[in-house]
Amino acid sequence: MASAGKEHLYKVLVIGDLGVGKTSIIRRYVHHTYSHNYRATIGVDFALKVLRWGADDTVRLQLWDIAGQERFGNMTRVYYREATGAFIVFDMTRPSTFEAVLKWKADLDSKLMLADGRGIATVLLANKCEQGHPLPANGLKMEQFCKEHGFAGCFETSAKDNLNIDEAANFLVTQIMASEHALLRRAAATDTVTPQLDRRRRSDGCVGCLK
């Protein structure tokens, strides 16, 4: 069911503890810049990324860069509404930010649920990988972790060195589209089986931690 010239608009949340590099990742992804010192985000910041997708589709990603302080939780949860995908970011050099990942995930799942009862497509980003130990050496079995906790995948990223950010975003978009297709099919209750189904099945767990 290839839809030619379609325009997709997706709201993507970028969440995670304070100072893990959410703003840096977005700035790198959207504006192709990096600075050591971005101002702390208060409330929420926004960015828009427009992607050519496939032959002639356009994807517009509305990125919601949400302040990381836990205290803001109540307030920033309003921002989750109608999101179709999320990045949860942690800082590879600060273990406590990894421990917080599950809290963010649980928070997200409790606030947002797709019609089929599943959570929205969520990708885990291990940021500042240029400074941290690679994940296996970090003692983290990421594939297992993602599978267990419902992440579509995990990427080691560096906003500073521009590593893996485009890849992670493209991956998230495919995941969002896959769940969209799944939902549409569910709604239509059609009997056609499209290749997307397989792709979705395969990516239910972690597709591999790509460095």
Binding site: L18, G19, G43, V44, L48, Q62, Q69, E70, N74, V78
Partner: protein, 462 residues
């Protein structure tokens, strides 16, 4: 007054000479490399000044004042300026070509004169513009100076008697001179909490001790599971945020002159109000105070400022009370800018999206610092209401741009305001905002909403 322009001139002439020198060297180099032993020809790199001289002797207008003195005035400067770009056409043709006909040479001379005249005119205009700018700046500085005198000699000594007078309020609106700003803020914010310098020092000492002990336990705490209390630990967050406070000023970052001061004030506050702790946004407020007050006084102003009802509601993240403030804001928004209000509503752009940053940092993050300070001036005079009035002033100022945007572009625009927000214009728009709705003032509207939260923002209510 003449000093800067002289300096400017000297600077420029030095620079020009340097460039010329280096260019001729380069040229010579290139000549050598490209043509082996052929030395570069003298002709084409004729010094424009020499051409000018030749020309002047030719036309009999020999440099009458050319050599007079190093004390250059503007006109002198102009004589000199356009040479390098235009003198080329005065050159004689190379020897192997027939010489220019006299007629053509004359034409070139005329053209050259016209060019010089035009360049002079342009330069003169620019010089006049610069002079005017300088005069304006001097006038501004003078007015700031005289205002500072008025504040220092008349108002501050009689603060309680004068601070509500019409004249002082008017002067206040125009912006407090930076030299007295801190004092006025301190007086206006007051010290309801009766914080003394001693108390600040006690809180600071406690914060330092706590910092040391957590630092000592850090490895342990990190390897064991650190519960939410640990993760939320204010002192850790402060460390992360300090260098992310006004990074462009480079004074609060690690190693910068105010890094430790900012750390001290925020740390002391978490010991003074452990129930509030550190909340993002505070670092910006403390930083602005540090720029205007000594450390202990900055702390006193900081604690008292945060103790105001609106700030307490926000920094304790009292969600329902915050929604009440937003709802009151929407009442005045609709009243003042009905078209834009409808546009926002249509696009689902709720006040929490842009107001949170503005209120939490008191505009110090979103507006240029000097303009934010002017907002603070009147905020200290008028209280919470002015923060929301400023928001409406901003929306009013940018109304036309915003009406042409969709959700994401409005959200981006408002959370990242243009770098140059025109101060006078903004204050005109703020002044034009009516802070009455059906005969009720801000405080009354807020009170009604507080009593009856059901009437709060329908969009934000969940």
């Amino acid at each position: 007054m003449t000093a800067p322009s002289l300096l400017l001139y000297i600077d420029r002439s030095l620079f020009a000479r340097k460039v010329k020198d280096s260019r001729s060297v380069e040229h010579r180099d290139a000549g050598w490399k490209l043509f082996g032993k052929v030395p570069p020809r003298e002709g084409p790199v004729k010094d424009p000044r020499r051409i000018q001289k030749e020309y002047e002797t030719k036309t009999g207008r020999a440099g009458h004042s050319n050599l007079t003195s190093p004390r250059q005035n503007v006109r002198k400067n102009l004589d000199f300026e356009p040479l390098s770009t235009t003198a080329l056409i005065l050159e004689d043709r190379p020897a192997n070509l027939p010489a220019k006909p006299a007629e053509e040479a004359e034409k070139h001379r005329q053209q050259y004169e016209e060019m010089v005249a035009q360049a002079k005119k342009r330069e003169l205009k620019e010089a006049q513009k610069r002079k005017k700018q300088l005069e304006e700046r001097c006038k501004l500085e003078e007015s700031i100076g005289s205002a500072a005198q008025t504040w220092n000699q008349e108002i501050l000594p009689n603060w309680s008697a004068m601070c509500t007078s019409r004249r002082v309020r008017d002067l206040w609106w125009q912006g407090i001179p930076p030299s007295v700003r801190g004092k006025v803020w301190s007086l206006a914010v007051g010290n309801e909490l009766n914080i003394t310098h001693e108390l600040y020092n006690i809180c600071l000492a406690r914060a330092k001790e706590k910092c040391r002990s957590t630092a000592a336990n850090a490895p342990e705490a990190e390897s064991q599971d650190s519960g939410s209390s640990n993760r939320e630990s204010s002192l850790e967050l402060i460390k992360l945020d300090i260098s992310r406070t006004f990074p462009q000023l480079c004074i609060f970052q690690q190693g910068g002159p105010y890094h430790d001061v900012l750390h001290s004030i925020l740390g002391a506050y978490t010991c003074y109000r452990p129930d509030v702790g550190y909340v993002q946004g505070m670092s910006f407020i403390a930083a602005v105070l540090i720029l205007n007050l000594d450390t202990a006084d900055a702390f006193i102003a900081f604690a008292n400022l945060l103790n105001k009802p609106c700030q307490m509601a926000f920094f304790r993240v009292d969600h329902s009370l915050m929604l009440t403030y937003f709802a009151a804001f929407e009442v005045f928004f609709e009243e003042n800018l009905p078209k834009l209000f409808a546009h926002f509503k249509k696009n689902n752009l709720t006040p929490d999206i842009y107001l949170i940053d503005w209120i939490f940092t008191l505009y110090s993050k979103s507006l240029p610092l000097d303009l934010a300070s002017r907002v603070w001036d009147v905020f200290c005079r008028d209280g919470d209401e002015f923060l929301f009035r400023t928001a409406l002033g901003l929306l009013r100022l940018f109304q036309d741009v915003l009406t042409g945007m969709d959700f994401i572009h409005m959200a981006q625009f408002l959370t990242r305001l243009p770098d140059l927000v025109p101060a006078e214009q903004l204050f005109q728009h703020i002044a034009a905002v009516h802070m009455t709705s059906r005969n009720r003032k801000w405080a009354q509207v807020l009170q009604t909403l507080q009593r009856d939260p059901e009437r709060g923002s329908p969009v934000l209510k969940r």
